[in-house]
């Protein structure tokens, strides 16, 4: 459904997207995971035709984006991070407006509005202006607007930002349903749990490059059976390297002043490592050990935590 080949984009000297390629199948929820500034928004913006790539190809539903822009726009939906609607208008007026703009017929539009409002528990409040809605309700309307024309491909940019658990689950449900009906979903997030729970496949992106693509299980295999340990304290990179060199089964993922990330066969080794640090007179502030999961994969691949 979506095929990206050797896509690149630079802003002056900054390479925002650096030769990335991936494919997303029909009906798949494809998670795009990466820290701020990793290149997620630039990639999505190029797919949405908001930015022109420096090089590379974007094929959507077998159509080249370069030459079939108008056709592709008809089958594409977008849910931006911002509440992109009109607060002075009611929920229904907004949905009618955006639906008509996408070319949905009056009767179909009415049916879909009713369906989605019911699905999001907003039926009965459709005639209230959106400025009276809570943050969670607004998020749901923001999502419905992206789905109202039942696009073949839907670009979601952190659609669950700052909402309660109930709304989050409601949104997951709608996204999963759209996916099951054949909508291909490109889901940008930096919430690891969300990516684990929702996405069929995940791409981890950092500094403009895709570091890994696969299902959750496939990605966890990258870490193997090893745990990922993070040690922070008052030590230099050289001091850390010297101590860790004596532990053969601990491979260093990243080492910088005051912080090291290790991959360990078994976390049993950790007390010995810490003892060594203390023997050298170095203080340790924080230690955390992560079992193999998306977070540990992310740590291993990028050398940093996602919240950074």
């Amino acid at each position: 459904m979506l095929k990206i080949t050797h896509l690149s984009k630079s802003f002056d000297s900054l390479k925002a997207v650096d030769d990335i390629s991936f494919e997303v199948n029909k009906g798949e929820i494809f998670g795009f995971l990466g820290p701020n500034g990793a290149g997620k928004t630039t990639t999505i913006s190029m797919i949405a035709s908001l930015l022109k790539p420096d090089s590379g190809k974007i094929i959507i539903d077998s159509l080249d984006l370069d030459t079939n822009l108008r056709k592709i726009k008809k089958i594409m939906g977008v849910v931006p991070q911002e509440m992109a609607f009109y607060e002075e208008l009611t929920a229904k007026e907004n949905l009618v407006f955006w639906g008509k703009l996408q070319g949905v017929g009056r009767k179909t539009l009415e049916e879909r509005i009713k369906y989605y409002l019911e699905k999001t528990a907003l039926l009965g409040r459709e005639n209230e202006p959106l400025k009276k809605y809570s943050g969670g309700m607004k998020r749901r309307i923001n999502l419905i607007i992206g789905l109202i024309h039942q696009p073949k491909i839907l670009l979601l940019d952190e659609p669950t930002l700052g909402i309660d658990v109930q709304t989050r689950l409601n949104i997951y449900e709608i996204i999963k349903e759209a996916s099951s009906q054949g909508t291909t979903i490109l889901y940008t997030t930096h919430n690891l749990q969300e990516a684990e729970e929702l996405c069929h496949r995940i791409a981890i992106i950092d500094q403009g490059k895709i570091l890994a693509v696969g299902t959750l299980d496939e990605l966890i295999k990258i870490v193997g059976e090893k745990d990922i340990a993070l040690i922070s304290g008052n030590f230099s990179a050289d001091q850390g390297r010297k101590i860790l060199s004596s532990f053969k089964d601990a491979s260093v993922i990243s080492l910088e002043e005051g912080k090291t990330i290790l991959s360990l066969e078994a976390s049993k080794k950790m007390p010995l490592i810490l003892e060594q640090f203390f023997k050298e007179g170095l203080s340790i502030n924080d230690v955390s050990i992560k079992q193999p999961n998306l977070e540990s994969v992310f740590l291993k691949l990028t050398g940093k935590e996602l919240r950074e």
Binding site: T41, T42, S45, A48, S49, L50, L51, R70, K73, K74, M76, G77, V78, P80, Q81, E82, M83, A84, F85, Y86, E88, L89, E93, F97, W98, K100, L101, Q102, G103, P129, I145, L155
Partner: protein, 415 residues
């Protein structure tokens, strides 16, 4: 086209639900017109302040009283507020600017007049005032002339009376003879004095409502309204930047809608809401100020063409603007300069020809000219060229603005 109307409808609903700014821009010109009309317009009765005049009477005689009494007669009493003071105090008050003039009647004024000698009355005028001391001077001239005339006419009788007073003796025979002489003298001059041969009839020229449709309000309202139309159209058009911030423009860009359709919808909404507000202002002008706008069909076209021109011009300006802050700073300055040059603040008739050339480059000038010509029932051949000019300028600006805005809006969509 369908999309343009869909977008325009949406903007109409939004503005309808949040009308505070636009209502403000409608009420301000009406209020200003009312205030300026009161200040500069004609009124039934002009209430002038009484002129404060000080009088230092160093003579304190019947003649000085007679002279000063002149200022307290009839209409003069309404005009002049005469206050008796000592000369020293009077001069102090004059130094403080508390009076328009100080009259100093010298000692022996009455005696000298009685004896037919020339006397001088001193008039000190307040240098900080221009017209009021002049009025006092004129009144003094007239009163001294009148007093001199009385003494000239009755000089013989006055000499006789003086001799009675000097001798302290009033013989009945001489007094009755004097009375007869005075009576004869008065009867002799009365045929020339009463009734006056030439009389003055006062009449204030009223507004020629029936002869000319023009009123002060009909002059002021179109001028001020044209200025505020710039702000009204801008209040609609600035949404273009707000939609960029809100993300709705980004969402539209991903939809089948073209950005140019979005821009044209803003031009259309801006022109239509501007026209609607102008029609409301015209209606208020009729109801509140009884303005006769001339041929209303023609006025309707003026409204449309003017607002198309303004909306097009604003779209052109927005192609240079990136943020709401820039819009606030730049556009307000442009509108105020245009209004100043174009006659919204000062009538262009008072401009020197050099500045008038610049006035003709403003939207305000042509809008005001068109309205004034309609109000004056000018022939169509004078109004139609202005209408066509405004329409042409509007369309031209819209195309240029739409082209440049199309490019500039695409650039800033991804943050």
């Amino acid at each position: 086209m369908k999309n343009i109307f869909l977008l325009a409808r949406k903007d109409f609903i939004r503005k309808w639900r949040n009308p505070v700014v636009i209502i403000g821009f409608i009420l301000i010109p009406v209020t200003l017109t009312f205030i300026f009309g009161l200040i500069f317009g004609p009124s039934e009765e002009k209430i002038l302040p009484r002129i404060p005049v000080l009088a230092a009477d160093k003579d304190q005689s019947i003649f000085s009283d007679f002279f000063l009494g002149f200022f307290k007669q009839g209409e003069l009493n309404k005009l002049i507020d005469l206050k008796k003071v000592e000369e020293k105090e009077g001069r102090k008050l004059m130094d403080k600017g508390k009076a328009s003039a100080l009259l100093v009647i010298p000692e022996n004024f009455g005696k000298n007049v009685w004896e037919g000698k020339t006397v001088e009355i001193l008039l000190l005028k307040n240098p900080s005032e221009q017209f009021l001391p002049q009025i006092v001077e004129e009144v003094c001239d007239i009163s001294t002339l009148l007093l001199s005339s009385v003494f000239s006419v009755f000089s013989d009788e006055l000499v006789l009376i003086k001799s009675f007073i000097d001798q302290g003796n009033f013989p009945d025979k001489d007094v009755s003879s004097l009375s007869v002489r005075i009576k004869n003298r008065i009867e002799g001059i009365s045929q020339f004095v009463f009734p006056p041969v030439i009389s003055l009839k006062e009449k204030t020229i009223k507004e020629k409502e029936e002869e000319s449709p023009f009123s002060i309000y009909g002059y002021i309202l179109p001028a001020i309204a044209t200025m505020f139309l710039l702000f009204i159209c801008n209040a609609v058009f600035e949404d273009i930047l707000r939609e960029k911030e809100m993300g709705t423009l980004l969402r539209m860009t991903v939809s089948p809608l073209k950005i140019s359709e979005f821009i044209w919808s803003k031009i259309l909404t801006s022109a239509l809401i501007g026209s609607l507000c102008t029609l409301i202002l015209i209606g208020l002008g009729i109801i509140i100020f009884s303005i006769h706008w001339g041929n209303l069909f023609l006025v309707f076209f003026i409204v449309l063409c003017l607002n198309i021109m303004i909306a097009g011009f604003i779209s052109f300006l927005y192609s240079f603007i990136r943020t709401e802050r820039q819009a606030g700073a730049v556009l307000s300055s442009v509108f105020i300069i245009m209004s100043l040059l174009g006659g919204s603040m000062i009538p262009v008739e008072s401009f020197p020809p050099f500045i008038l050339n610049f006035s003709k480059l403003t939207l305000n000038y042509w809008g005001i000219q068109a309205f004034h010509k309609a109000i004056m029932n000018a022939p169509l051949k004078e109004v139609v060229p202005i209408l066509l000019g405004m329409l042409f300028a509007g369309i031209l600006f819209s195309f240029i603005g739409s082209y440049f805005l199309n490019n500039s809006l695409k650039k800033g969509l991804v943050k």
